[in-house]
């Protein structure tokens, strides 16, 4: 099919997935870690949010498998690969990507947004809205379009429902087998929420997702559901491509900051004295610099580096990828201080506890004490911070892209979409769809992340739990 391409962020994101799975396995084997997760999954909000987040993660991961498509074969059998880097997601969303128009078109429109000179069959030239190249091109009469849309939508919804129903049946069958009950009864208990975990919330959310995907798959390949942008690219496709950027910023940033924050935070709290002073000095200094300016300065420096070493990069994608990674890095540097301070405070308390004192008196090395006795007991703080920071970082990306110090302008991101569409509100009629799409996709992700973060915090922070 093509030659695989491994971008730096791709590798890191899959390392992160691996680490998450490892952590899940570790948590599964330890009762004190499993108990709070069980509380998380018992919450209806968390389970619903998880399904939505899962949808975003799947899109993001599919979009992180890159390859260069094969375009031709030489006489001697060698393959010739395109210079353009694509992802697995591009392949799945084929029609969305390929149906490119000339310029703006409204959602579900069959005509272009701007008037053009159209040559009539008899040779005369009329100035009118031309038909779109792809959307609704199969219609003989444009007035039929809503009936046609409805027909496609029906088919999409039916498919979505079917896939969902099969999934539910499979799950119910497994449950029925395990519990030794009848299949019908099992389906009933699942969907009505008579189970220990609120499976029904997850299933109903999943139904909505399946229906949406069905709609996109059928209607989306014949119409532009969310319209097209200035260069005629499908807005829905852009919004979906932006998912990866948002997730990267939200997760890689915390991943690059975690080692430093944990190490320095633990050391400051554990060793006290001059170590503490030095570490406090470092993070106060970094905190004193306004975050936006530090990011701006660093990105400007990267600009200079990139413009002076333009030859080192083989493709635009690679350069954009480096900038994304650099942005994560610099965002991490501005945001690790909060976690570091929290960990320092907690370690202060922990090091005075009897079991740490006991370890100390038995001659356990400092390193081992930190690793085995302190670290596991501050992990909940790390987890809570990571989950809470996520949504803030996704929102920050949009703001940074607006000031031109965010991700590369050639990269799909919600910030770039907003930035590009901002001035179009002044047009008549208003071009609102790009803005709306970016805001809705961002809002859904951030809302799900916020709701999930709340439940995780309540489940892992015993102090808060008791005060309710």
């Amino acid at each position: 099919m093509g030659k695989p391409v491994f971008l730096l962020t791709d590798i890191l994101i899959f390392v992160l997935v691996g680490l998450t799975l490892l952590f899940a396995w570790y948590a599964h084997r330890h009762e004190h870690l499993r108990a709070p997760w069980r509380r998380v999954v018992q919450s209806r909000t968390a389970l619903g949010a998880l399904v939505v987040l899962g949808f975003y993660v799947v899109v993001g991961l599919l979009d992180s498998v890159h390859y260069q498509p094969r375009i031709d074969t030489r006489a001697n059998g060698d393959a010739i690969y395109s210079g353009e880097v694509r992802s697995l997601f591009d392949w799945i969303a084929g029609p969305l990507r390929a149906n490119q128009e000339k310029t703006y078109s409204a959602p579900f429109a069959v005509h272009l947004y701007a008037k053009e000179n159209i040559e009539q069959p008899d040779g005369s030239v009329v100035r009118d809205y031309p038909r779109l190249d792809h959307a609704g091109a199969h219609l003989a009469n444009p007035d039929d379009r809503w009936a046609d849309v409805a027909q496609h939508a029906e088919r999409g919804l039916a498919w979505g429902l079917l896939v969902w129903a099969v999934g539910v049946l499979l799950l119910a069958a497994v449950r029925a087998r395990l519990r030794r009950t009848a299949l019908a009864e099992s389906v009933g208990t699942l969907l009505r929420g008579r189970t220990h975990y609120p499976w029904h919330v997850a299933l109903w959310t999943l139904l909505v997702m399946c229906l949406l995907i069905g709609l996109i798959a059928t209607v989306g390949s014949h119409y532009h559901i969310l319209g097209t942008d200035k260069v005629g690219e499908d807005v829905l496709y852009q919004a979906l491509k932006s998912v990866r950027t948002g997730l990267m910023i939200g997760t890689l940033t915390t991943m690059v900051m975690l080692p430093a924050a944990i190490l320095l935070g633990l050391m400051a709290g554990y060793f006290k004295g001059w170590v503490d002073d030095v570490i406090q000095y470092i993070y106060t200094t970094l905190n004193a610099i306004p975050g936006v300016l530090l990011i701006a300065a660093a990105i400007l420096m990267l600009h200079i580096y990139l413009s002076n070493n333009a030859d080192e990069f083989t493709s635009v994608t690679e350069r954009a990828d480096l900038r994304l990674l650099f942005l994560c890095l610099i965002l991490g540097i501005t945001s690790w201080t909060g976690l570091c301070r929290l960990l320092r405070g907690e370690t202060f308390k922990l090091r005075e506890l009897e079991y740490v004192q006991a370890a100390h008196s038995m001659g356990v090395r400092h390193f081992n004490t930190l690793l085995r006795h302190i670290l596991p007991n501050v992990l909940h703080i790390v987890l809570i911070t990571v989950v809470i920071d996520f949504s803030g970082l996704v929102l920050a990306e949009a703001v940074l892209s607006y000031i031109n110090i965010g991700v590369d302008p050639s990269m799909d991101s919600w910030g770039n979409m907003i930035n590009g569409a901002r001035l179009e509100l002044a047009r008549e009629p208003v071009v609102w769809w790009s803005l709306a799409a970016a805001f809705v996709f961002m809002f859904t992700l951030v809302l799900a992340a916020n709701l999930f973060a709340d439940v995780v915090r309540d489940a892992f922070d015993p102090r808060l739990r008791n005060s309710r």
Partner: protein, 325 residues
């Protein structure tokens, strides 16, 4: 206490030095002034003479740390480190890369920033505390539940949406106030209304939720139970006891941001065309004017440290239990 404040002020010096050193490394060591000149002059087809001329014009034609050709004390002062970095300590910001006096620009532009930031802060506080008290009063009811849901929803909306939406709705559809611009004196009022409203609405979600948590933390304390036990009505418990004590973290949280109000809000100012320090910073970033960025970094760091010291002092003022040694 004055001894404590003095010590904190002295402690600020190494931090500012650190900030300065970091910006120095970032701006002059990682990328040399030659690189900067080349980028400003545009691309690769720039002659060495043009680069030298640019450096002389903007005062970058000096050695980084030590000038062997100069006389006496000038060996240290006729360097980029002294001229461009250490002079910031005397609040001499020098000239921007486009040739304007940065210090003058800052003194002019800080007033519009304050004109937006102070009303936004005060109105925001009033609104958020009112809502938070309401939710705390009706805690564990449907009103509280839906209040929190609305807060989380509002928190999840991008700040850009509030600004763009507000401009579109109030400025364009309803035609009530101009979308952007600024004026002097009372005439500026009509330009300020919309940014302030948008700023307040954008802050309601996070603010209300945070203050509600603070109130609920106090509500569960023993002295509140005592107050209820002696038969005090719920509203008096809330206003007389809970509110007063929860005000301590609220107040100190406000004090820490007070100095930073000067630097203004980046987004609001640039969207509404307000000639404050926030839009000044954004313009500098977009024009890649490093002199201004350096000056703003230093100013921001000074104000941040000032905020920390003010917070400590305000603690002793509002909470007699806290003593500074």
């Amino acid at each position: 206490m004055s001894a404590y404040v003095l010590r904190r002020l002295l402690y600020a010096i190494p931090i500012l030095l650190g900030v300065n050193l970091l910006t120095f490394v970032l701006f002059f060591v990682v990328n040399s002034p030659d690189d900067m000149a080349r980028m400003h002059l545009g691309g690769k087809r720039v002659t060495d003479a043009a680069i030298e001329q640019w450096k002389v014009d903007h005062g970058y034609a000096l050695p980084l740390l030590f000038n062997a050709q100069a006389e006496g004390g000038d060996k240290l002062t006729e360097t980029i480190l002294y001229q461009k970095s250490l002079k910031l300590f005397q609040f001499q910001f020098g000239q921007s890369d486009s040739g304007r006096d940065i210090g003058y620009d800052i003194s002019q532009r800080m007033w519009p920033s304050l004109a937006i930031a102070i009303p936004t802060l005060l109105v925001g506080l009033l609104v958020n505390i009112t809502f938070a008290l309401l939710l705390a009063f009706f805690r564990a009811t449907y009103l509280d539940f839906w209040g929190v849901v609305i807060c989380v929803t509002m928190m999840s909306i991008s700040g850009l949406f509030y600004i763009i939406g507000g401009q579109y709705l109030v400025g364009k559809l309803l035609n009530l106030v101009p979308i952007s611009g600024y004026d002097t004196g009372w005439a500026s009022l009509k330009f300020l209304v919309l940014p302030v409203i948008v700023g307040v609405i954008g802050g309601i979600g996070a603010g209300t939720r945070w203050y509600r948590t603070l109130f609920l933390e106090e509500i569960n304390k023993d002295y509140v139970r005592t107050a209820r036990a002696k038969g005090l009505a719920e509203q008096w418990v809330l206003f007389g006891h809970v509110f007063k004590n929860a005000l301590i973290p609220i107040l100190t949280g406000v004090v820490v941001v007070l100095p930073l109000l000067f630097t203004g809000s980046l987004l609001t100012e640039s969207f509404f065309g307000i000639p404050g320090l926030g839009s000044y910073t954004i313009d500098a970033i977009n024009r890649q004017d490093f002199a201004i960025v350096r000056a703003m970094v230093f100013l921001g760091a000074v104000l941040y440290i000032l905020g920390l010291i003010l917070t400590d002092i305000s603690y002793t003022l509002v909470d007699p239990r806290v003593r500074l040694e």
